[in-house]
């Protein structure tokens, strides 16, 4: 599968782009950028210049610097959310699919209830209960999506579980954990990867939306959604402030979406 993926030029471009962005986020502190939190009211809302390549926001902070520093909350929080969601969903899905019986039924009922609730309402409900804050937003997202992954993994497990080599393992007496990790997981992993990359975009949009509303990341942390929230108040005087974070979100989400599409095509035997 990896070979097919590498042949797809757009996929390679997307992966390269995402890697560059993430590296920039990780190295934000070491790269020579202006201090993202340094307030300089005299320099507020300046047009792009050599000192401030993307201008300044309403508190005189360097927009480029805030953009780069904002990679961490926006993207890494989303990654954290995804990993936890997948871990939780997979664990439950694997166990449920492998053991079947009563456990499976109960778990599926719970998943059904969780999935039937409109996700936006659930997010608001959870954030409403826990209050605004970064980790609360992450928790809300995990709570909503785990059921979906749980379901997917469970049906994959059931499908793969009926394949010959797994039955053979069971018959020859190998222990359950071995079967689960050695046989089931790799087969399921590739499907997971496709779902995850397609979902990543959704999570990024969700987290930035909540930050935009003031429910997620709190000031003065730089985060793209929060930056847009601040930019909307100065829309008339400095429209650039409104464009920059939005374009950033759009390109990163688009990259993940395209990657997910390419992964899905690479996995699909019909397009060989």
């Amino acid at each position: 599968m990896l070979r097919r993926l590498l042949k797809d030029k757009s996929a390679v471009v997307c992966v390269a782009f995402i890697v560059v962005v993430m590296a920039a986020g990780l190295l934000a502190d070491t790269v020579p950028l202006n201090n993202p939190n340094k307030v300089n009211v005299l320099a507020k809302l300046q047009a792009p210049s050599f000192a401030y390549p993307l201008g300044t926001d309403h508190l005189g902070r360097c927009t480029l610097s805030r953009l780069v520093h904002g990679i961490r909350p926006t993207i890494f929080l989303s990654l954290l959310t995804m990993c936890c969601t997948i871990a939780l969903g997979s664990a439950i899905g694997l166990l449920s699919g492998y053991f079947r019986g009563r456990v499976d039924e109960v778990v599926m009922r719970v998943c059904d209830v969780m999935l039937s609730f409109p996700s936006q309402v659930m997010i608001l409900a959870v954030v409403g209960v826990l209050g605004p804050g970064m980790m609360n937003v992450v928790a809300a997202n995990i709570l909503i999506k785990w059921a979906w992954y749980g379901r997917m993994i469970r049906s994959s497990v059931i499908r793969y579980g009926e394949k010959g080599y797994v039955l053979f393992s069971k018959v020859s007496g190998t222990g359950a954990p071995y079967i689960v990790f050695r046989h089931l997981l790799p087969g399921v992993a590739s499907e997971l990867l496709v779902l995850a990359s397609l979902d990543m975009g959704w999570v990024i949009l969700n987290i930035s939306t909540l930050s935009f509303l003031g429910l997620g990341v709190q000031a003065p942390t730089a985060e793209w959604g929060a930056m847009l929230n601040e930019a909307k108040d100065v829309m008339v005087r400095a429209p650039l402030q409104m464009l920059v974070p939005g374009v950033a979100i759009m390109t990163v989400v688009a990259a993940f979406n395209m990657l997910g599409d390419s992964l899905r095509d690479a996995l699909d035997p019909k397009t060989v």
Binding site: V113, S116, F117, P118, S119, Q120, V121, L124, A125, V126, V127, G128, V129, G131, P132, G201, L205, S208, T209, F212, L213, G214, L215, G225, L228, A231, K232, M235, V236, P239, M242, L243, G246, I249, M250, T251, V253, A254, N257, M258
Partner: protein, 301 residues
């Protein structure tokens, strides 16, 4: 099936709010700028009925809810939650309805055109637009539209509820997310259906291209789209809160957001319940519509 779900949702709503670490009585006092002394808290607890056991409170809340009595809001003891919701729900429904009309209209038009003129420049540009559209945060689009149409061109008002002029920008913004999905859905469905055998037979009988496309292909394609659309209606209504916030549209989403900031728990609770109920009824309506549209399902319904 329906009733237990309703019960389940109400239970979840109640449980969630009661999981709050903060003491609701204290919060209620603070919001109204009353000093939370020991006595005041005790009085408030009694007033809110918080001193009674969990299930009693749940049943009481549930029975009151069926009579649409959600109690008073924390922020202003003079206003009832029911009243607030009654005031703001129609605005959200109006916005959602307008967005739905735009979604249906544009996605039908563009989806069908793309399927008919497959792989032309038009098709490819629309697909690019769709792809970018799903990657753009909708509040950002709202801001851009606001900046362009309201501020630059000064054609429309920037915010507030009211007449159709105020409705346009928020409705267009809200519809954008869903348009992308539906254009793609309709286009793919139509392309798939065009290679079905009944299309070959229709052509073999000498039917006009227009009849084949609209009478046969489109009708079959719409089938699955209607189901998907129906499922999105509650999502549309629920997701309106962002757009309402950007354009200061006085809807139920905006109400909930301010309730979250104000820690106004009765409002949040009622919001969850109302949205949950709405969701279930929408699903029911879709199921019925689905049966109605497909003669193959009518026997079993």
């Amino acid at each position: 099936m329906l009733f237990p779900m309703l019960l389940g949702i109400s239970f979840i709503a109640f449980v969630l709010v009661n999981l709050i670490p903060a003491d609701p009585a204290e919060v209620a006092l603070r919001i109204n700028d009353i000093q939370p002394t020991e006595e005041a808290i005790a009085l408030m607890r009694e007033e809110l009925g918080l001193d009674r056991p969990f299930f009693t409170r749940y049943l009481q809340w549930l029975s009151k809810s069926t009579r649409f009595d959600f109690g008073a809001t924390f922020t202003n003891a003079n206003r009832t939650v029911a009243g607030e919701i009654a005031r703001s729900l129609p605005a959200t429904l109006e916005l959602s309805a307008a967005a739905l009309v735009i979604v249906i209209g544009s996605s039908l038009l563009l989806g069908v055109s793309c399927a008919l003129y497959r792989d032309t420049l038009f098709d490819r540009s629309v697909r690019l637009f769709v792809f970018l559209g799903t990657a753009m945060p909708n509040y950002w689009v709202g801001l851009l539209l606001m900046w362009f149409f309201a501020l630059k061109l000064d054609l429309l008002p920037t915010s507030g509820g009211g007449g159709w002029k105020n409705l346009i920008l928020p409705a267009v913004t809200l519809s954008l997310t869903y348009i992308s999905t539906y254009i793609r859905l309709i286009r793919n469905n139509m392309i798939e259906n065009m290679s079905e055998e009944y299309v070959l037979y229709a052509n073999a009988r000498g039917l006009k291209q227009r009849t084949v496309v609209f009478g046969h292909v489109l009708r079959n394609s719409l089938h699955s789209c209607v189901t998907a659309l129906g499922m999105s209606v509650p999502q549309l209504i629920a997701g309106a809160f962002v757009v309402e916030n950007v354009f200061a549209w006085p809807g139920i989403g905006r109400l909930c957001i301010s309730a979250i900031f104000n820690r106004d728990y009765p409002v949040i609770q009622a919001y969850i319940l109302v949205m949950g109920v709405l969701f279930i009824f929408c699903n029911l309506a879709v199921d019925i519509l689905h049966c109605f549209m497909d003669p193959r399902l009518r026997r079993s319904s």
